[in-house]
């Protein structure tokens, strides 16, 4: 059966492979929400409110700006009808008109300056504040949330969603101006001449209706264009980042065809979007033409009959050139708001994530003179209800003692370690550090007395020096070098160009795993905590570095209480006591020789 299937494969190979894809394989998030959601607006307002003075100034400037724009055709009208007439008064009136015009221009200049500066800067400030609040909140939320959530998703909250709020903030202030301009033009036209005004304005509803029908499909077309563009770019990025694997597995040909599909789909959607964008041009132009024709025929006849001043006609013609602009931006504002509401909802979602682990009021500050013991007292723990990870675990690590935790994958070792640092709350029982329940200790002081070394050493971009004194930013250079020497990292650091000032690439990419491990040891040594919690790396490291690490580990544990998730025989042998976990239960404890004598599961679980 399976051989038949395999034989058939060769025939299919001319066709495009059924499952292959290039680029991201992910559902898009919802982009548009309700246009107005009071709860979200309220939350956003909380960020805007510190700048409300600026916002009021901006709104005032926008209004002033709009009024000068409205006034200018009126001044021209005045200049024509009272200035440009035969007789002595004419020239003086013209002079007045030009002076008024000049004044308007100066006001316009000032208002536009203030408006754009204030709106631009205030929106940026709000945006940065929002991002900061979100980022700062993420520093506090429980790790179980962080475990569940991909970094990429959070990053798109912090970047994409925040940016779409900026657009919303900027255009919201400006659309105040648009509304005023729209009503202003209507008002001025009707008061200049009611009948002519009404006739001219009759094209406006037409545009409104057309825009309403146009909006939905056009927006979809724009979104499609946007999406295909970013998926095509995503596929390109993937092709570049994975180029070695692509060449290794000889996928160039297949990928090229798939990419062509994406790029071509992008071309099609871009052209469709372009059609939708451009189709409004002749419609607006036609309506403008109709409005102008109406003014000329009706207004002209009235002027001939001396029922209307010629300047009014000129003013009408000027207003007509402008009066579709506010309609255009206001209908656009609708989409901007929808987008902002859905981004806002997602931002609020992040801000609302519970901070499960909090200092209780009057939390104790753990000091260095505590005894350094760690105790688990009937600890029950689960990430999800009904899936217990630790069941009634009790043990005590005495001050200065090193205890190795061993057990198969999934036995709960890593969770136990995380509980010492109160990354999560226990469901039952208690974890005690220095004799105090961790829930009674302030998190900051707990962090200071418990140093952790994780299995995958995580280094930050920056110099080696900064990384080693990550915990104690004020540690002296000498202290850092001392620690590096103690763990045997000094030599390879000095061999790097720049030594301690050498820049680490993202996540320490320019160091080997073993070297990163040593640096993370040095970091723990500088932290100089009374208790060390360490998850030994399972990964293979070249033998020389490996031995360095073993030595460094002894150094690190000197004079400290150690709780080590051990994978290596040497570490297990060196421990004062061994605790064996299986399926969340403690099944054995004792020193190496005792356990070997018992012939229990230690032997099976060590490598």
């Amino acid at each position: 059966m399976s051989t038949m299937a395999e034989d058939n494969e060769s025939e299919d190979r001319h066709k495009r492979p059924p499952r292959a894809v290039v680029g991201s394989h992910r559902d898009e998030e919802e982009i548009f929400g309700k246009a107005y959601d009071p709860r979200i607006v309220q939350r956003i307002w909380a960020f805007v409110s510190p700048y409300r003075k600026l916002i009021f100034i901006a709104v005032a400037a926008v209004l002033t700006f709009t009024l000068t724009q409205l006034a200018i055709p009126l001044i021209i009208r005045y200049a024509i009808d009272t200035g440009m007439v035969a007789g002595g008064g004419g020239r003086a009136n013209l002079a007045w008109a030009v002076v008024a015009f000049g004044a308007m221009v100066v006001i316009n200049f000032g208002a536009s300056f203030v408006q754009e500066t204030v709106v631009g800067k205030a929106a940026e400030n709000v945006l940065f504040d929002m991002r900061r609040a979100m980022f700062s909140h993420l520093q506090e939320v429980s790790l179980s949330f962080m475990d569940r959530t991909e970094v990429g998703r959070l990053m798109s909250r912090l970047q994409g969603d925040v940016n779409s709020m900026q657009e919303f903030l900027e255009t919201s202030v400006l659309s105040v101006g648009d509304v005023v301009l729209l009503f202003g033009i209507v008002f001025v036209l009707l008061s200049l001449d009611f009948r002519l005004g009404l006739l001219t304005l009759s094209v406006m509803p037409v545009l409104f209706v057309v825009r309403l029908f146009w909006l939905e499909p056009a927006r979809n077309a724009f979104m499609n264009a946007h999406i295909t563009n970013s998926t095509t770019n995503g596929a390109l990025a993937e092709g570049i980042n994975g180029v070695r694997t692509v060449q290794n597995l000889d996928r160039q040909k297949v990928n090229f065809d798939l990419y062509d599909d994406k790029a071509h789909a992008n071309l099609t959607t871009q052209l469709t979007a372009s059609k939708f964008a451009q189709v409004m041009v002749p419609i607006v132009d036609t309506l403008t033409g109709i409005a102008m024709a109406v003014v000329i025929v009706v207004g002209g006849a009235m002027a001939l009959n001396r029922e209307l001043d010629i300047g009014v006609i000129v003013a009408f013609l000027f207003y007509i050139q402008r009066f579709f602009d506010p309609i255009r931006s206001l209908t656009m504002q609708y989409s901007v708001m929808q987008r902002a509401m859905s981004s806002g909802a997602r931002i609020c979602e992040v801000m609302d994530v519970n901070v499960d682990v909090k200092d209780r009021s009057g939390a104790i500050t753990l000091t260095r003179d505590m005894d350094g013991s760690v105790e688990f007292r009937n600890v029950e723990f689960a990430y999800r209800a009904n899936q217990p990870v630790l069941k009634n675990v009790s043990f005590k690590v005495n001050p200065g003692e090193t205890v190795a935790l061993v057990g198969p994958t999934g036995s709960g070792k890593t969770s136990a370690m995380a509980l010492v640092h109160r990354f999560y709350e226990v469901n039952g029982g208690a974890v005690l550090v220095g004799g105090h329940d961790v829930r009674d200790i302030s998190q900051e002081s707990l962090g200071q007395q418990v140093a952790m070394v994780l299995q995958e050493p995580f280094l930050f971009t920056g110099t080696i020096l900064e990384n080693i004194r990550y915990h104690k930013t004020d540690a002296s250079r000498e202290a850092v070098i001392g620690a590096a020497k103690a763990v045997g990292a000094h030599d390879f650091i000095m061999r790097m160009p720049g030594g301690y000032e050498a820049d680490l690439q993202q996540r320490g990419g320019n160091l080997s795993l073993g070297q990163r491990q040593l640096i993370s040891f040095a970091r723990a040594l500088v932290a100089d905590a009374k208790i060390l919690v360490l998850d030994e790396a399972t990964a293979n490291i070249d033998s020389y570095t490996e031995r360095q690490i073993q030595k460094a580990l002894l150094k690190l544990l000197e004079g400290r209480t150690g709780l080590v998730i051990a994978h290596r025989l040497a570490t297990i042998r060196g421990a004062d006591r061994i605790i064996v976990l299986q399926n969340g239960e403690m099944i054995e404890s004792g020193n190496h020789d005792q356990l070997m004598a018992e012939g229990g599961s230690t032997r099976a679980s060590t490598t």
């Binding site: 299937a5 395999e6 499952r19 991201s24 200049a79 200035g83 440009m84 002079a95 015009f101 316009n108 200049f109 940026e124 400030n125 940065f128 980022f135 700062s136 790790l143 991909e150 970094v151 990429g152 798109s156 912090l158 990025a237 570049i240 980042n241 180029v243 694997t245 692509v246 060449q247 000889d250 160039q252 297949v254 964008a277 451009q278 419609i283 607006v284 132009d285 033409g289 102008m292 000329i296 025929v297 002209g300 002027a303 001939l304 010629i310 006609i313 000129v314 990354f423 707990l446 962090g447 915990h471 930013t473 996540r507 293979n540 033998s543 020389y544 031995r547 073993q550 040497a570 042998r573």
Partner: protein
């Protein structure tokens, strides 16, 4: 919104100037080349340009028609019926001109955009193909973020040149040129006054655009710094918490954030100063026209209609003149972006099929290295491998061991021709690998890399990456052999679970097992495990090894590892040091040799004891 891809790429913008720097002479050549690309679509270009000229002509007619209409309404040509019908004629002409102007503007915009998008499409394909085929040596040298930037942002710069550069040049020349002629021929003084804002606005807008472009690049760099801080923090949140580093992290964030914010404020300032000044100068000219024109009307040397023509003409010209800056910017952008892009497109592939290359035919499966020397390009002539010779046959397992940097991976990368050797030869069944087609070679050689890339797609697709036609049972079998199946079945989505950058993240060991499964789907003649079990515990590794025993029967297996237990069973082992094979033989033979291999073995078996490092290790 899937803006994070873009965001990410932008975030990596490092003003990729160091990639290829553009010179002025080259810039001109670039613009010519883009224009030529556009001309490959002669009909679309012709329609776009013609429509542009007609549209701008119609645009110019409107102020004049309005002026005439105003004159008619004033009854200048006489009263009654005659004036009435003149008004009707003006109105209808105006309507027709407006409609036509709209239609031609649509045509202009649509066709110029479509030329741009078509060029963009062609360039995307060419770029993608090129990047996928450029050799490892190239990719080692160039930062992937820079390549993404070129492929997205530079490509956009080139694509938009036709619409925002060339077509706009035609539009503005007609509007300003013909407009100026019409105005000045109507009245020289008033015409000059009406146009007086043009040079100032053109200058300011060009300066502003160029300045904004400069600061944009810096801003992207700052934003990339900020997103790096955030990304690292979120990725390393456990370390942050473990060391109570929140405060320190907030300080880092604030510093990066502040820098970016300051720069955005600066950019607001640049923009505002210029737009306000431009508006001011425009209205200033208008005031002058109103004053002098008004006086002429009073003196009876000009009609109100003509004055209206002047004023409406200014209104019409305002927007395009403000866009002059964008046009200038478009030229600047296209020439720098284009130079970078074209330099990449024109680049030599480095490694390609030799002329007349034939497909590799694997018969017995014999791999032979014969006095191979190899130097990394740009390493200053220091040999990465020298005088490497060995021979392996189907069914054999070869172990390679040595200190980091001794050339193990390099050796493995020569077999599928990721790099070309300096001298000597590598043959598969007697065929020199540099003389066979790359496709056939790479299909026959599979390397399980140390750090292989996960694509953001399902686990199934990832395993079948090298053979997307593979059927499910085959994929599952491969996953079973790689000891991945049970883990996958434990995932809620099973084989349909999406992994990769935006999916479920796999641990180092799981990634390595997936990458082994990927290779097991293929049927290579040579299979290389490049330290690809480093993050897998010894027990699992043992199970993998027994599972693939049958698979390894008729092919050559090369195992590179630090852990001797991974390769002790090999038919023969090569011990490498500084690019040379210094010891070779089976495990027993090498132990008996009492050399470096022996020292390494002792070190691993008795790690707690103090043993003097071998010379190789001490120098690593």
């Amino acid at each position: 919104m899937n803006s994070d891809t873009v965001g990410r790429a932008r975030a990596r913008v490092k003003a990729p100037g160091h990639l290829v720097s553009a010179q002025w002479g080259q810039g001109l050549g670039t613009l010519v080349r883009i224009t030529r690309m556009a001309l490959r679509h002669p009909w679309q270009v012709a329609i776009a340009i013609t429509a542009t000229m007609i549209a701008s002509g119609l645009q110019l007619a409107i102020p004049r028609l309005l002026g005439q209409a105003v004159d008619h309404a004033q009854g200048i040509i006489g009263g009654g019926q005659e004036a009435q019908s003149a008004l009707w004629i003006s109105a209808i002409t105006l309507l027709v001109v407006s409609v036509l102007r709209g239609l031609f503007t649509l045509t202009q915009n649509y066709f110029s955009e479509s030329v741009g998008h078509t060029i963009g499409y062609e360039l995307r394909l060419a770029y993608y193909e090129k990047i996928q085929r450029l050799s490892f040596a190239f990719h080692d040298k160039v930062h992937s973020g820079d390549l993404i930037t070129v492929g997205m942002l530079d490509l956009d710069g080139v694509r938009m040149f036709f619409a925002t550069g060339l077509v706009r040049t035609v539009l503005l020349s007609v509007l300003i040129g013909v407009g100026a002629y019409l105005l000045i021929s109507t009245d020289a003084v008033l015409g000059l006054l009406a146009l007086s804002f043009v040079p100032f606005v053109a200058w300011r807008s060009s300066v502003a655009q160029l300045k904004l472009r400069g600061t944009w690049l810096i801003l992207q760099e700052k934003l990339s710094g900020l997103s790096r801080v955030m990304e690292e923090n979120l990725g390393g949140i456990r370390v942050v918490r473990a060391f109570a580093g929140q405060k320190h992290e907030m300080d880092k964030f604030d510093a990066a954030s502040k820098e970016a914010l300051n720069l955005t404020h600066q950019r607001v300032n640049i923009r505002v100063r210029n737009t306000s000044a431009m508006t001011f100068s425009f209205f200033f000219s208008m005031g002058l026209v109103l004053w002098f024109g008004g006086n002429m009307v009073i003196d009876g040397t000009m009609t109100v209609g003509t004055l209206t023509t002047f004023l409406t003409f200014m209104t019409i010209l305002q927007m395009p003149v403000r866009q002059l800056g964008m046009m200038v910017n478009s030229y600047a952008r296209a020439s720098t972006c284009g130079s970078r892009l074209f330099n990449l497109l024109d680049m030599d592939l480095g490694i390609d099929d030799a002329p007349g290359a034939t497909d590799l035919k694997v018969t017995e499966g014999t791999l032979k290295f014969d006095n191979v020397d190899f130097t990394f390009p740009g390493s200053g002539g220091q040999k990465a491998l020298s005088d490497v010779s060995f021979e392996a046959h189907a069914g054999q397992t070869i172990g390679i061991v040595g200190a980091p940097g001794s050339g193990k991976t390099t050796l493995a990368h020569l077999i599928p021709r990721f790099y070309d050797i300096d001298s000597g030869s590598i043959t598969l069944d007697g065929q020199d690998i540099s003389k066979v087609t790359l496709r056939s070679l790479r299909q026959s050689v599979a390397v399980v890399q140390q750090d292989s890339f996960l694509f953001t797609t399902t686990i199934e697709n990832n395993i079948a990456y090298g053979d997307p036609w593979a059927k499910e049972p085959k994929i599952e079998r491969a996953a079973e052999s790689a000891q991945l199946h049970n883990y996958v079945m434990g995932l809620p989505g099973g084989y349909d679970t999406v992994v990769g950058e935006r999916g479920v993240s796999l641990s180092g060991g799981q990634r390595q097992r997936l990458s082994i499964a990927r290779t097991l789907v293929l049927k290579p003649a040579v299979m290389v495990f490049d330290d690809s079990t480093a993050a897998i515990d010894a027990g699992t590794e043992h199970r993998i090894r027994s599972a693939i025993k049958r698979f390894a029967k008729d092919r050559i297996t090369i195992v590179i590892a630090h852990r001797l237990s991974s390769l002790m069973h090999a038919d023969f082992i090569l011990f490498m040091e500084e690019g040379k094979i210094v010891e070779r033989g089976s495990h027993e033979e090498l132990l008996a040799l009492n050399g470096r291999y022996r020292a390494l073995f002792d070190l691993q078996v008795r790690p707690g004891e103090d043993i003097a490092p071998t010379p190789a290790e001490a120098s690593s």
